[in-house]
Structure formats: structure tokens, C-alpha cells
Symmetry: C2
Subunit: 357 residues, 2 copies
Amino acid sequence: MRIAVLGVGLIGGSIGLAARERAGAEVVGWGPRAQTLETALELGAVDRAAGSIEEAVAEAQAVFACAPVELLTDLVTRALAAAPSDCVVTDAGSTKRDIVEAVSDERFIGGHPVAGAETAGVANARADLFDGAAWYLTPRPDSSGILFERLHRLIVSFGARPSAIDAATHDRMLAAVSHLPHVLANALVSQAASAVSGDEPLPRTGPSFRDMTRVAGANSDIWTGIYLTNRDAIAQQVDAVVERLRAVSDALKDADADALREWNDLARDDRRRMLEAGLEGGSVTELRLSVPNRPGIVAQVALALGKAGVNIADMALAPAADMRSGSMTLWIAGDGDAERARELIAGLGFPAAVVEA
Amino acid sequence: MRIAVLGVGLIGGSIGLAARERAGAEVVGWGPRAQTLETALELGAVDRAAGSIEEAVAEAQAVFACAPVELLTDLVTRALAAAPSDCVVTDAGSTKRDIVEAVSDERFIGGHPVAGAETAGVANARADLFDGAAWYLTPRPDSSGILFERLHRLIVSFGARPSAIDAATHDRMLAAVSHLPHVLANALVSQAASAVSGDEPLPRTGPSFRDMTRVAGANSDIWTGIYLTNRDAIAQQVDAVVERLRAVSDALKDADADALREWNDLARDDRRRMLEAGLEGGSVTELRLSVPNRPGIVAQVALALGKAGVNIADMALAPAADMRSGSMTLWIAGDGDAERARELIAGLGFPAAVVEA
């Protein structure tokens, strides 16, 4: 099978590597930057570099368009104009309504691999980037079964889990769990920075502040497009949060202890449900331990758990201000493994507290 | 010196341990729960358990009151009534205006050690819990120099960094960098959980969502008191964020690309400034790498950096959905160490991307 990848950064490069290594496909790459294309060739992400979109797709059975969302409609349209009549064309954009509405060709099936937002660039491309990742597909009512099946099978061969979804549901869901967090992180960090007046020093912040603002100010080149193409769904989520915050503000102004407690308890329940939905594998236990913050400490804990076959689903190491001590949070899936982890960590001399659900 | 600790949980127990080990003090403990007091005695956090507040403080030179904020005014008032005339009395509450306004005794100096919110309970108490931690003190205009100096010296001996601040500034600052993040985490997690309709499954969430909601639904017994005692300052921060969110919502509805980009760029600048203020030690470099998510991977990276003497200021390991791969974010302070870290990690076969400031 011949596959064309248009745009060979982190996502396109990883698709190329996975297609070559796992689907035995021949991959032709094209990209707007000659240097990136050259690197993709060197890294084995593509078999051959094409000089134009048309050349890349000319004999392809599947085309993956990978670019910032605002460029995708043009890219896909050009690909469809030059691609064979039995070629499936898809994209890797984070929002789906705009492109699905703009492109009426029945060979087009929108896509969104949920992977790799954290590290950009073809240098980070990996054949296993999509292992276990969700990969949304937005087939049309008139999508050819043959083309959908071909695309689906390719994505499975990449290690991902394709699931069909309509574009509106996709965009609404992503607005809530991905785009809204970015908006709130931006608002929080700018509000906190402005909360000190005049020549006061910026307050020292703790680990929870860092956790909450890690995604603040994400790459503007990518995110401006995401915000624009999903603007109504995001605005709806933002407006809904505004209503929630006004209710909290009212409860605060009224000194309504019952309302504040109930609101906080509900958030704890919601957090647990979202967490378990996110991490799969059933219930998740959160362990927190106080540790000296020295170079070897993470290794010590990780090795002890690793030797026992207990995998760490998620981890956060939060140093105290002096970097000499800190608290470590571990997420362990499965009750049995969590209990073993707690015992192993206690054996190292760090009593771990299970955070109540 | 004799010190009384009223309330021997994580904070009180750690004060007891630090006072005994580092200040050579004799520590008398009191607490409302006999079992906790017994544990504190077993762990060496106190020399002696007192049967009442009055007995505990009778011959003390310094008293530390450690309890949920809404109980502190009563606790401190009872301590002052029974304490000697030359005894300094302080508390460990997260908000300061209420108690400072309520207690007019010149022997009282409000305090707030910024440590240990992550793990509760005397079982997690440690003599080094306060190493390098900020410890705010709110002396009164009429505070005795002798008493302030005694308290200050004790706190320094615990390893903490005391700094005097007026109660209003303290509460405003904490509202912005600690209480507001908790409010936003609650609002986000509940909004996301409600964004799916009817029988749709909860969407799987990624690492950035988990990072942002880690503090959601924190212990209601502690946080209801914090919200109430700092309600006006928190409401002011919440209202300010509401204004920011309305502006973003407007920019989204207007499809104003320039405004969205500028807003996002500003958030990036603010994040960097807040981060560097929080982590001290000058500029901080953020490294992101894609790694297989297996038990040994954190150890491998941490060991390589540890051997080279490069300390990890902050770390987050974010697994992909299948737990087999993920991305790791490392925060390294100092340009030289960051470059060494990048080279060491590259040597392990994980190219690390420096996240642009």
C-alpha cells in the first residue's frame, strides 16, 4: 500500500514510521519546509520526499493531512483534487466540524489522533506514538465502506483505537476536556500574576499552582487555530464555567458554609469519575508521600515498584521551596497493586497516605 | 525551652519533631483525639501528652496552635488565657485576617507555614517538613520584640524561612495562588463531568486534565474553613477571573484571532514569570520527552540525571491511554544543568524537546 503524509512533524512523522514499520506501507512525504522533509527522510519516517502535494498523492491509497487546523481544509482540498478516485483522505486536526462541513468529497473521512500534543517536531516522532491512543474518525453518511475499512485497519495497525463519532459531539467533548482546561490555565496564571500590586514581588507558588498552569500559554500557532475552529463550543463551556464561578462567588459572599461544602464534595465525586474514565483499568488509588528531594529519590521509589511489577499510572513530584524535600503523588490502578505500592513505599521509610476518594 | 503544641496532626507533629530534634526543646502536646496524641507520643513528636489545653501551655515559652482555621480563634484564646505572661502564642492557619482581628492579646503572633497540605495526619509528620518552606508571620504593631525574636528563631531552627507580612496582604496573595486554583479545579472537573449528556460515556481525559484537577475536591473539613475565613478575597479573585473569561468568550464569539493570540501569548509570559518566582534559583527550563511507560523508565532517567548531580525541580509523567507510552516533563533549574539534562536524556535514546519560554 502507498500512503502519502502531508506535513511530517510529530504526528505526520509518527504516522509515517508506524505505516512503514507496522503496516508495511510505502510512505511518500510532503511538507512545506524542505529541512523538515529532509529530517523525516533521514529518520525513516518517509521512503521518499515529494516535491508537491500532487506528486505525493498521485498514486496513494491513503492520504494523511497533518497541519495546524486552520490550514487543513486547503490541504485536504488540494489532496482530493489530485488523489486517485479510490483513495481515502483523512486529516489529523484537533477540531472536526469546520473541515467536515467544508469538504464534501465522499473520499474524505475526518480524523483526530489524541496523542503527542506535548512534544512537537519530527525529531520526537515515534512508531509507537499512537499505541493505545484514541483516534476519532468522522465518517460521512455516504462514506464508502471500503475506504472507511481501509483507514480503520491502518489506524489499528498503528496501535491506536479508532472510534467513529460525529463532528459536533467530538468538538463539544474536546471543548470540555481539552480546550476549556487551556482557557482556565491561561486565566489563572494571568490573574495570579496580576494579583500582586506595584512593586510587590510575585508570590512564590506551590506545586498545585504549577500543576494547574502547566498548559497555560500553549503554542499560539497551534492553539489559535483550535480556539477559532471550535469557538462556539468553547465559548459555551467558558460561559457555563462562568455561571459556576458566579455561584461560588455568591456562596462565598453569603458565607454559606453548607453550599461551599456541598460544592466541594461534588467536585471530589466528579473528579473521581473523570479520573477513572480517563485511566481505564478500574479504580485508581492516589498515594501521597513526603520525601526528601534528592536526585535519587524518584529512582528509588520507581525501582522498588518496578521490581514488584507495579506500574505507575501517573506521578507528580512537587518539591518544597528549597528543593530539598517535597511530596510525591503516585496514581496506581487496581486495588491490589495500590496496596502493594503502599507497603513497598512504607518499606523504604516513606509512609504513604492514601488520598480519600 | 518548653513548647506546647495544640493539635498534633501533620503540622503540629512536625513542629514537635523539629522542636525536639533541632531546637532541643521539651514539647508538651495536646489534641482533641486521644489516639492521635498517643501516636504523636510513640513517634517522638512530643515528650509528654497533656490532658488539657491549660495543662499543656501552663509553663510554655512558646505555643503552636494547629487546627482547621475555623477552630483556631477559640483554641488560641484558650491558650492565651492559660499561658504565662512571657509566652508567645502562634497558630498555623492558612488564612490570617480573621484570627488576627479576633485576638487582641499582644502575646499572639499569627503564623502560616506553607507546607504539608498534600499529606495529612501525624503518621506523615517529619522533622524536616519545613526545610526551606515559607512561614508567614503576622506580628502586631505592639508585638514584643522578645517574643517575636523567640518565635522567629524557633522557626528558623525548624529549617523554614519566616517572613513578616500583614494579614490582609497574606490573604490576598494566598487567595490568588492557592485558593483560586482550588476553585477553578472544582469548576473545571464538574463542568467537564456535566458536559456529556445522558448516557454518553464520560470522555477519556488526558494528562493535562489530570494536572489541572488534581486539587479538585480537596478535604472539605479543611477547605470549607479556608473558603469561609478568606471569602471576600477569594470572591474578588473569582470575580476577576470571571471578567477574564467573559473577555475570552467574547473574543471566541467574535472569532478575533489577534485577540486570542495576544491573550495566549500573555499567559505564556505570565506563566514563566510565576514559575521562576516559585522555583527560585533563576531561570527554569522545561524539557519534554516521549518515553515508553514501563516501570523502570522514571528510574532510568532519574538515575542518569542523579549520577550527574542534576536535580529535578519538578516532574510530571503523563501516560498515554494504554499506559505503555507517555510523555515526561522535567523542570530543571539553571541553564547549565538543563543543557546537561538534555544531553543525558538524549543519550538514553529519548530526544527531549525544550519547551519554548
